[in-house]
């Protein structure tokens, strides 16, 4: 109990000290801003130059809130700028950008500050997006193959025996803005895609279900156009909602493909062991493929600086080439004879919904022509 009381006392004390400090720092910043308004620029600079001054200690000691820190660096930038100390003005501006990555100047900011900002790259050098979601496979049959006469083969029709063909995917993309809301992105994606087939060898009497699951490593390359990328609302704030569309392509590398939960009913029921042969090892599926993709989504600016994004996206992946290796279509006797299934030639397409988070990365620096 005694120990807890001491801890509580120390915590309350620390809060009180911090509140006192914050209050003093806010006063120091206000005094500095007042000095700027009164034209006492040298007072501000000398105050900043004095490491023991309250203003400097608040700034360097991290006591300022982020907003206060932005105001402080902006104030120092302007002060150095008007004192014609361009080097220090640039240094302060870089520090400002360190706190506020894409600092938006206000209408009342001086033209000199606008000119200074133009000398710097304030856009992110790169964005890193992490995205994950669910996909539904939409196999597109190129050519039908059957072992039975009814030809009744259904894909991903939710029924008693089959599911919807739901899979999962996740990707990490590096993105870069090119111009006017157009970005390019590339990275790696891991995708699990599943399609389920129900075949009626003898209607209602001899049926099978085959569930083909593939794991792919994909390398997407995407071009995206975002609406409102650079637009501001009537109040001069950047618009928070960015609808976008994108198209792209992907090189797909098959890691593994298997039949899961594949079984026949009718006669003596038969289930293919889940530990059956890897279809990639057996060369029954294409080891590589190329896909094109397109989609639309919307990004929301998040974070204090509103330079990071949360996004929701709908995507359609269209594989260009046959998922099945036609040369080895009949290689697995237990599937062909035991289950009664043979794969159609098909492209394994998917539609997906995903959620993502994009982090913007910056290295504030002068543009090349100003270095």
């Amino acid at each position: 109990m005694k120990k807890h009381l001491i801890t509580l006392f120390l915590l309350v004390n620390a809060c009180w000290v911090f509140a006192q400090s914050s209050s003093q720092c806010a006063r120091a910043l206000s005094q500095a801003e007042l000095a700027f308004e009164q034209g006492r620029l040298s007072d501000i600079i000398s105050d900043y130059s004095n490491s023991n001054s309250g203003f400097t200690r608040c700034l360097e000691g991290g006591v300022f809130s982020v907003d206060e820190e932005i105001r402080a660096y902006k104030l120092l930038t302007k002060a150095y700028l008007f004192q014609d100390d361009e080097e220090m003005a640039e240094e302060m501006f870089v520090k400002l950008l360190g706190v506020d990555k894409e600092h938006q100047l206000a209408a009342e900011d001086p033209a000199e500050l606008y000119l200074l900002k133009d000398k710097f790259k304030t856009e992110p050098i790169l964005r890193v997006a992490v995205r994950g979601g669910l996909n539904k496979s939409l196999p597109s049959v190129i050519q039908n193959f059957n072992t039975f006469q009814t030809g009744q083969k259904r894909y991903n029709e939710k029924g008693n025996d089959t599911g919807l063909g739901i899979g999962f995917w996740a990707e990490v993309l590096a993105e870069r803005h090119i111009t006017k809301g157009i970005e390019v992105a590339s990275g790696v994606q891991y995708r699990i895609a599943t399609y389920e087939i129900e075949g009626e060898m003898i209607e209602n009497d001899l049926n099978y279900v085959a569930k083909n699951t593939s794991n792919m490593l994909r390398i997407p390359l995407i071009a995206r156009y975002s609406l409102n990328y650079d637009n501001k609302d009537e109040d001069g704030n950047r618009i928070k909602l960015l609808p976008y569309v994108f198209i792209g392509g992907s090189f797909d590398l098959m890691l593994k493909a298997k039949y899961l939960d594949t079984r026949r009913t009718g006669g003596t029921a038969y289930t293919l062991p889940d530990a059956s042969q890897d279809l990639k090892e057996a060369d029954q599926v294409s080891s590589t493929n190329v896909s094109i993709m397109g989609g639309l989504g919307v990004r929301f600016r998040v974070g204090r600086s509103e330079v990071d994004f949360f996004s929701i996206e709908l995507r359609y992946d269209n594989s260009l080439f046959n998922y099945i290796n036609p040369d080895n279509r009949w290689a697995n006797k237990d599937v062909n004879f035991g289950i009664g299934h043979v794969e159609d030639d098909l492209t394994l397409n998917t539609v997906s919904i995903s959620f993502g988070y994009t982090r913007s990365l910056y290295i504030p620096r002068k543009r090349k022509q100003y270095r």
Binding site: S140, I142, Q143, N144, F145, N146, T147, F148, Q149, M201, I202, D205, L206, Y225, L227, P243, V245, F246, I247, R264, G266, G267, T268, Y270, I292, M293, G294, G295, L296, Y316, D317, N318, L320, F321, N322, P326, D327, N328, R329, W330, A331, K333, D334, N336, F337, G338, G340, V342, D345, T347
Partner: protein
């Protein structure tokens, strides 16, 4: 916003692209097809259907049996195109719900056997033999029917039955009936079995099989039976031939017509082998019988498979034979004195002289390194002139998988030596499956017909289009 919509439309157009693989095999290259409903089917023969000129292959026809709703088996005929797609099928046979008039019974049996003034109805289990497509006419079928007439206390009395179907698979009425029978002695209910029917160049048909005789006393035995039949004149001749002896059976399996009009019949017999192998009741051999066009024997010979390295006796039961340019290719199953069974293949010359033969004692698929027993059911000549034996492997263990009876495909060269890399098996892992026959298509692929056992009484007919080495792809 308009820009956004334009991009969306362009994106949709782009992502709807699909590149078809031009190298993907067309469906007619290789395939596995199942046929049937939820009952039991069993095939015995497959043939190619040609057009009226006999030059253009148009489809495939399979002859077999089907278990009916009444619990008996009927003849079943199934027709497909060359891609294995079902065209049509028909089943028929003796039934206790149909009136069928027996044909040509030697002692003049009427259809009213019970003498009650009403046509008798009886049920039979049909056993399919061969089907013979007749270009531009239809099909001839032959088999056996196991008759049951409860009113007479008759059970499993085998009749040789045959019939004709038109090009639409409709049974043709012939001598007032659609399914015709030859029966042996009605008093003792001796059996006749039908195994083959061919169209002769003279226009008649030659039927062959076996007829059971009771020599008095001990066991009955079968003799070769053959008959020439004309549509207009009925029976031209019929004859028996064989060894008379208790249990010494001679049964013809396949018949052929030589270019000089002589008739060649191949089957199994207890006739002693010219190669010196055992004969008699303990030794069954391949039998070659040649007659003139009137059915008068002009030549005969018997040969057996013999393993010179041991003293094991091989009793060789012929199951099928084909005509080759060099003579005849024969397949069957040898039962050995060590109670094992192996498929065998044999080549005879045009004059019935033994050329080569071999027993298939492969252990290729058996990881337990013991000889895998098998049976030989069908034979076909591959495009490279090698002979393919079709049949069944008995249960075996391959790797970590244990398998039930599997359809067998194995190739032999013209000297009857196994061809390396041309052996394969097909079927369900736990079913009792077998391949019974095959044909070679004009494109060089081989189409085998198999009986595939799904368990629970469900057996389907399957046709499998293979490469000439037995591979599916």
């Amino acid at each position: 916003m308009r820009y956004l919509f334009q991009i969306i439309i362009a994106s949709l157009l782009i992502v709807s692209c699909q590149i078809e693989d031009e190298n993907a095999p067309a469906p007619d290259e290789t395939y596995v097809k199942y046929y049937g409903e939820l009952t039991s089917y069993e095939a015995s023969d497959i043939e190619i259907i040609y057009d009226a000129t006999g030059e253009v292959a148009e489809g495939l026809i399979v002859f077999g049996t089907k278990l009916t709703e009444n619990g008996d088996t009927d003849y079943f005929i199934l027709r497909t195109d060359l891609q294995g797609n079902l065209v049509d099928s028909i089943s028929f046979g003796y039934s206790d719900t149909l009136d069928i008039q027996p044909f040509g019974s030697p002692d003049g049996l009427a259809d009213d056997w019970t003498g009650d003034g009403v046509k008798d109805r009886f049920r039979a289990d049909e056993f399919a033999g061969q089907i013979q497509p007749i270009n531009g006419f239809g099909y001839a079928i032959i088999g056996s029917s196991s008759i049951t007439i409860n009113a007479l206390g008759v059970s499993d009395w085998r009749w040789l039955t045959f019939g004709f179907l038109d090009l639409d698979l409709e049974p043709i009425r012939f001598l007032n009936d659609t399914l015709l029978a030859r029966i042996s002695d009605s008093g003792d209910q001796l059996d006749m079995v039908g195994n083959d029917i061919i169209l002769l160049s003279s226009g008649g048909f030659l039927l062959a099989g076996g007829q059971e005789f009771d020599r008095g006393g001990g066991d009955t035995d079968f003799d070769n039976y053959f008959m020439k039949l004309n549509f207009d004149d009925g029976i031209v001749f019929e004859s028996n031939q064989g060894i008379s002896g208790e249990g010494e059976d001679d049964i013809l399996v396949r018949v052929f017509e030589k270019s000089n009009g002589n008739l060649v019949m191949i089957g199994s017999s207890n006739t002693p082998s010219l190669l010196g192998e055992n004969a008699g009741v303990n030794g069954v051999n391949v039998f070659y019988l040649e007659t003139d066009e009137n059915g008068t024997p002009v030549n005969s010979a018997a040969y057996g498979i013999d393993n010179v390295n041991n003293n094991v006796v091989y009793n060789d039961q012929v199951n099928n034979a084909i005509r080759l340019s060099s003579g005849f290719g024969i397949v069957g199953t040898s039962s050995t004195s060590q109670n094992q069974r192996f498929g065998f293949i044999m080549n005879l010359s045009n004059n019935g002289i033994y050329l080569s033969g071999n027993s298939h004692d492969s252990s290729l698929y058996n990881t337990e390194s013991v000889t895998l027993q098998n049976t030989g059911r069908g034979i076909v000549q591959a495009p490279d002139n090698d002979l393919v034996m079709l049949g069944q492997y008995t249960s075996f263990t391959s790797g970590t998988n244990s398998r039930g009876g599997e359809g067998m495909f194995v190739k032999f060269d013209q000297a009857s030596n196994p061809v390396e890399g041309a052996e394969s098996f097909f079927g369900l892992s736990d079913g009792n499956d077998n391949i019974v026959d095959a044909v070679t298509l004009p494109d060089g692929k081989i189409v085998a017909v198999a009986n595939v056992d799904f368990g629970g009484g469900v057996k389907l007919i399957s046709i499998i289009k293979l490469n000439s080495d037995g591979s599916l792809d």
